[in-house]
């Protein structure tokens, strides 16, 4: 059926909307503003910090070809550390470093009474084991792929420090529940330290805050476990990651660049 065109109703010239002058933008309605909120917020931060360049450098740097699942072990370790940090914060909300009975009692209360308390404590306990295993695997990967060689020697050293700090975390954390196993294993552990020539006894006096296990000892272990070492770990993980991003992830040692690669480089 042919369409019937109706004539437009007569409108006075004054009411006809004027065509826009060329070059003027459409005025943004509230809906458009809402759509752009995210971008404008990022712009606002970026204008004041200039961080978007760094973020782009970090996220869109290239990872050499051939990287495989072995290369996720480092980030997995860091994730285990983050999990330890989060569960540790919740445990610290209930823990009292009082060897006279408060420490054990607070852990018992946390385990038996607090909602999900045993679960969070279990995650912290087993998370420690998982973190140690991941550190070892990450280190083995680095070793067998020769990834500690030039120019990444310094990052290997930072990694070894991180390994030692992880073990310090394990050692200091073991005492905190203050049950039989925790107490006696730590007594033996500290005694082992004490056999070191010359510095051994001094080291022990420092660790125990005196010649014996006293109320200060537990507080000392607690503060080392939740302030000193985690702070050092976080800072060194930051340095470790920065060096990784700056120097680039290693390629698997058997990987060879394509001969056409030079062209690719020019194109890039």
């Amino acid at each position: 059926m042919p369409k019937v065109k109706l004539p437009k109703p007569p409108v006075p010239d004054a009411l006809v909307p004027r065509p826009k002058r060329p070059g003027t933008a459409e005025k943004a309605g509230p809906r458009d503003v809402a759509k752009e909120t995210g971008i404008s917020a990022i712009d606002w931060v970026d204008e004041r910090t200039g961080m978007s360049g760094a973020a782009r450098w970090l996220m869109f740097r290239k990872v050499p070809k051939g990287t495989n699942w072995f290369y996720t072990l480092g980030s997995a370790t860091m994730f285990a550390f983050l999990s330890q940090a989060v569960t540790g914060v919740f445990l610290a909300m209930y823990y009292i470093p009082d060897p006279a009975g408060g420490a054990y009692e607070s852990v018992r209360y946390l385990t038996n009474e607090v909602f999900l308390g045993e679960f969070v404590r279990g995650m912290h306990k087993w998370g420690a084991s998982v973190m140690v295993i991941l550190v070892m695997l990450h280190m083995a990967r680095t070793f067998f792929f020769g990834a500690y060689k030039y120019p990444r020697e310094l990052n290997w050293i930072i990694g070894v420090v991180l390994l030692v700090l992880t073990f310090v975390m394990g050692f200091t954390g073991y005492l905190l529940p203050f049950d039989q196993k925790a107490y006696w294993a730590t007594v033996v552990g500290v005694n082992i330290n004490g056999t070191a020539p010359i510095i051994g006894p001094y080291l022990n006096d420092f660790i125990r805050a005196g010649p014996d296990f006293t109320s200060t000892t537990l507080a000392r272990f607690y503060s080392i476990h939740m302030l000193l070492v985690p702070g050092a770990l976080a800072a060194l993980i930051g340095a470790h990651l920065w060096l990784v991003a700056k120097q680039g992830t290693t390629a698997p040692p058997w990987m060879k660049a394509d001969k056409k690669g030079d062209v690719g480089e020019e194109r890039a």
């Binding site: 051939g66 087993w126 020769g146 070894v160 107490y183 006696w184 070191a196």
Partner: protein
């Protein structure tokens, strides 16, 4: 690595890097998947293994097993492998310190520019040896004999004496079993041989006063029993009685 080798590596690496993919989203996706696996493993272990809380720590008690967390077993087992008392410091501090220094300095003494594991056999074999050694020591630590079982017949003279002497001997035997002495000492067929000395015939070697003194002021890393001696002298005497009767 000399200068030419370093430059060669950097050139090769920059080509490889250019032929790679951007970190986001390719590596980030893999890392996130791995993070989920880690989380799942931690939660599964928590649900299956739980978080056991043992009885409260008590410095005067003797029922304990001084066992570290599993990832320290390999350090603890070194003590059992290296027995002579004059070498204890070597096992406790010496070897771990040397290993740690070697680990720190690895990039400085391994100057071979080759990176493929099969083309640097010494490094690869050393790495595998280290892993096997740590694994073996951890296994030894995990399967060490139960430190709480002690089956020993009282010797004939004690049985003949009977009465208080026998009761004291039996109480001492139970105490040694409960105290986990056998985690580090051997008594006859029971317990682990090391790090502590064999106690099978300690009664022959030392008079009971010497045993008592050693218990109160032992060689590290053994925990001292002086608190037990002052707070509960009867139990302490039982312990000494039992140990001083141990002879071939």
């Amino acid at each position: 690595m000399n200068r030419a080798q370093r430059e060669e590596y950097l050139r090769e690496y920059s080509t490889l890097k250019n032929q790679g993919k951007p970190f986001f989203p390719y590596a980030v996706a893999k890392d996130s998947a791995m993070a989920c696996v880690v989380m799942a493993v931690i939660i599964l272990m928590t649900i299956i293994l739980g978080a056991e809380l043992l009885p409260k720590a008590d410095p005067t008690t003797t029922t304990y097993v001084p066992r570290p967390e599993w990832y320290f077993y390999f350090l603890f087992e070194l003590l059992r492998v290296i027995k002579p008392p004059e070498l204890v410091a070597l096992a406790t501090i010496g070897i771990p310190t040397i290993c740690l220094i070697l680990l720190f300095l690895l990039p400085f003494y391994d100057r071979n520019p080759e990176r493929r594991p099969e083309r640097r056999p010494v490094a690869t074999l050393a790495g595998i040896f280290t892993i096997v050694a740590i694994g073996y020591l951890t296994y030894l630590g995990a399967t060490g004999g139960s430190p709480n079982e002690l089956e020993i017949e009282a010797p004939p003279p004690i049985q003949a004496a009977g009465g208080e002497m026998l009761a004291s001997y039996e109480a001492g035997r139970i105490m040694v079993a409960q105290s986990g002495c056998l985690a580090c000492h051997k008594i006859g067929e029971n317990g682990n041989d090391g790090p502590g000395p064999d106690l099978t015939e300690v009664g022959q070697r030392l008079p009971s006063q010497a045993i008592a003194r050693t218990l109160q002021n032992p060689t590290a890393p053994m925990p001292p029993y002086d608190e037990l001696a002052t707070k509960n002298p009867e139990q302490f005497n039982n312990l000494v009685t039992f140990l001083s009767q141990l002879r071939e």
